[in-house]
Subunit: 269 residues, 2 copies
């Protein structure tokens, strides 16, 4: 039964786990397969062509396992490879950029700020997605490259995180909505909220993406009926122990059913 198939979630590393967490919260009856291409992370510093090639390989793997919907839980991949991935598969494909952009515009805020990695901000993908939905929106962008390594240290809600957030976000205070445009950033929600103040709506791309997944599954009539116990599998292309350790540090959850696989190009190196 197609309804019983898992949702596939793909990221260059482990940031996409924040998206997976929201999918589990929003759709507890659904099975999932997560693939983190940890051997070739970070994608943000690769050329578009290379990113598309890596994505194609990851998507082939998830496709071979049998999935009913694919989530591209990586901002870089979402901004440069979504079209090529959609051409590769005949199931719905959801990226992380459009859902965040849509929620920011739907909030009615005239001024929208977007924070993300250098690569995401430079790609202009959020800027395009927001102004396509509301040509009058005033979009301000700020790369916040230290948030990812801070998250990997586990320093997400302390004095260092707050000092860094103040430095980055000072110039964005007063905007109506702030899109957390990197899969790691929801971990800093508390700190970012304190710095921005109560008048700025924080848009969590992970939450919005999970809501979008629910809408599509419902519209296509392929939500899991919820009779069997859902299963969750995890695959990485390198360093499974480090992945498991960081997921525990990040999300406070133990990863079971974790395997290391080798993708095509990686194998031939």
């Amino acid at each position: 039964m197609r309804n019983d198939l898992p949702i596939g979630v793909f990221d260059s590393g482990l940031g996409g786990m924040t998206v997976l967490r929201e999918i589990h919260r929003e759709l507890p009856a659904e099975s999932t397969i997560y693939l983190g291409d940890t051997a070739r992370v970070p994608y943000g510093i690769r050329s578009d062509e290379t990113v598309r090639k890596y994505c194609a390989e990851s998507v082939s793997f998830l496709k071979s396992r049998g999935i009913k919907l694919l989530v591209v839980a990586c901002n870089t991949a979402s901004s440069v490879a979504l079209e090529s991935i959609r051409a590769q598969v005949d199931i719905p494909v959801v990226g992380v950029i459009e859902p965040g952009a849509r929620a920011a515009v739907a909030s009615g805020a005239h001024s929208v700020a977007v924070i993300g990695t250098d690569a995401t901000i430079k790609s202009g993908a959020y800027q395009r997605a927001i102004t396509m939905l509301n040509p009058d929106a005033e979009v301000r962008c700020r790369p916040c490259p230290l948030f990812v390594p801070l998250a990997e240290e586990g320093w997400v809600d302390d004095d260092v995180a707050e000092l860094v957030a103040r430095r980055y976000l000072e110039e964005l205070r007063g905007t109506g909505a702030l899109v957390l445009g990197c899969t790691h950033y929801p971990l800093f929600r508390g700190v970012i909220g304190r710095v921005m103040g109560p008048d700025t709506l924080l848009v969590d791309s992970a939450v919005e993406t999970a809501l979008e997944v629910r809408r599509i599954l419902a519209a296509d009539g392929i939500l899991n009926a919820g009779e069997a116990q859902p299963s969750h599998e995890y695959f990485v292309t390198d360093k499974p122990q480090k992945f498991a350790l960081l997921v525990e540090r990040f999300l406070g959850r133990t990863v079971e059913n974790l395997s290391k696989i080798q993708l095509q190009t990686e194998a031939s190196r």
Copy 2:
């Protein structure tokens, strides 16, 4: 004339520029060629086999340009590929680990602390080099992964840098010598010195490596006589503009004679 040939300096990215800076200070008459493999940075997350392969390609390039001595200004490459590189060339090869370890031991300090990236600390290369020179030395190690992204932000001597340094170095206070075991860390010398206090000797691997280069050139009788104006060339495998920008931010110097090249494996991807 062999004496007129440049010194080759190789790093996975731009961190090795701190080593090059010290070579320029210590040996102003020498010409240099710098190669940063920016397309495949960071090496610290690759397997040893992959690092050795990348190094072999970079070394082939520098060798083809004609150099009289090779500096492996990358801690990861120095810890896993020095032997294979030495087997590949018939000129002196200097890594960054041994000179730092030697200076720490020569200081007479009984307790030596080493800070570096996750990969460098996990490799155990400094620990081995120090205890080989002084089996009684008490070696304490601490990875400080946030220093590299902080340096790339240019936040090397401010409140964020100081707070991060305090967090990392608290447990190392009181050690006799501290080895700055990553090419980026000399940029934090001021902050690290304030946190550690005046009783800890800071060992700068970049400075020690430059001194080692001078010693070897002198011993081999191949110091440049200093008659012709020295020339300095720079090569990277990706994103020359970003490299030039970061070097300017880091070292306050403009990079001229910068070219982008393509190494073998990179070309076949």
